[in-house]
Amino acid sequence: MSRLARTIATRLRGAAGARARWGALSAAALLLAACEGVALAQPRGGVLTPPSQPAKPTVQLGHELFEANCASCHGGLGQGISHPRPGAGDISGAAPSLHGVGAEAADFYLRTGFMPLSNIHAEPSNRRVPFTNKQVEAITDFVASLGAGPAIPHPKPRAGALNSGFELFTEDCAGCHQSLARGGFVTGARVPPLQGVDATEIAEAVRIGPYLMPRFSTKRISDAQLNSIIRYVLSTNRPDNRGGWSIGNLGPIPEGLVAWLAAIALAVLCLGLGRRLRA
């Protein structure tokens, strides 16, 4: 009797467990299908926005925007896709996981226009941001909710010192960004100029190291040092041109070009004058 009761109990429990598992699986499949459906409906160029519902909580709005515009590469739940696989349209999606990247990274990539990318092999660059500020905030909130991660930093460049900022910048940043932050190249990628970039974006970029840029933790560059660096970078918007003529602040190459052109013009002038005098 007791034995029979036990077997029935275990059978029942097993059935309940199986049913629960099946339930979870089918729910996940449904969710995935829904995501995939939204993803497949994504237009090629622009972004897709859900119908506006004024009372919608931002995280939910963010989730919807994410599924519509980010999920074909980052996965429906931001879990990342490690091997390129065909998604909506001609998009072949692959992207890192967003669990634990926090609001910092989401805010940076969205406000600079680095994301969304038109294809995964494209180099992220400063573009017009396709989202409204509210939408950016919503997606950022959603990405932040995926896992504990760093918040949006609040640097205080006024607390920094310009001279030490210049030193730190030449040591750690100028190799790629050029000493007056005019940008340049690294093998295989462009290095963006930093004029007109705001303090928060600089702080975010230093901490997360977007695309091919190295990452600098607080151990490597303290918050106080970062303030100084940002103060210096902001000062390059309007550098003090002692010579009077900046020639693009690009260093010896434009200066050399100008010198050559001036010398050639002078030589031609001299030749002309000489011919005049002789005639």
Binding site: C176, T187, L212, M213, A279
Partner: protein, 352 residues
Amino acid sequence: MSERAKDRPEAQQGAPGEAGSAEAHGGAGAGDAQSGGSGGDGGGDGVEAPARIVPPGLPDRGAEYVVLALLALAMLFAVGFIVVYAEYSPAEVPNQLLGVCIGGALGFAALALAVLARRLVVTEELEDDYPQENPREQSEIAQLVHESASRITRRRLLLGAGAATGGVLGLAGLTPVLSLGPLWDTAPLDYSPWRRGRRLVDPHGYPMLASEVEEETFYTAFAEGADREDIASVLVVVRLHPSELRLPKGREGWAPYGILAYSKICTHAGCAVALYRKPRFPVVEAKPALVCPCHYSTFNPATGASVIFGPAGRPLPQLPLMIDPSGHLRAAGDFSGRVGPAWWGVREGPPT
């Protein structure tokens, strides 16, 4: 324009020729009216010594000695340049001394020429068109030059001294060529402060802890207690995941916990390898690389800094690392190759 241009050359072609010849005659005539007339006859006959064109001047022994002394000084300074260049090792050549030597040599040579011109050569101003083939005038010019030197008594000595100064100055100018090759003292080029057990310090002089070296960033390090100006002292340190490493054979254990140290001096032209590219998403982005900003030589840190792009001819020398019991990074030996730009004859090979 065309008409005026046509008029002009015709009007002026006649004029300068006439004016020039008139002046030349006038000049000669002013010197000695009679000889100007008879000079023509003499040149035509070619038997007697031609009459003077340039007025004779008195010999000036004093001025000659001054010139000789100045030339001697110029030679002394030029020799000084060579001696200074040869005496000091390339890294320690005092530029100021070199400048004083070459400047002194050129200055004294110029002074000697100035004295020669002002006090010894008889000056005569002549203006003429570019001469047509005219043997008479040519001999006149030769005579002119010859007679201009009439005040000089020690002709050969002066010529010799002038030639010697020119020679020594030329030699001084050629001396820096020696820097191109390992003819002289090349020991400083092979010097390295790294020995087994030497600690790595950060730019502020603090010893580097292995636990503080993070992935996805780069560090600059120096040899503890060594001169930072020494090109073999400075390192670029990066950390990769140990599974990513594909170091050449014989370098097992050179990168504890994936921490790699390479010379920061590019093997192409000696710039500082100041760029580190580290992909955020390696699946689609470029591999990690150390890049030199001068000519974009690109090195792969995972494979012993082999060259993957750019003009560098050999990998960055790698420094074997070890971690001491207190957790500090120390060198486990010297570099895997010669540090610095590729100079004559150096491509590969261990430091001597």
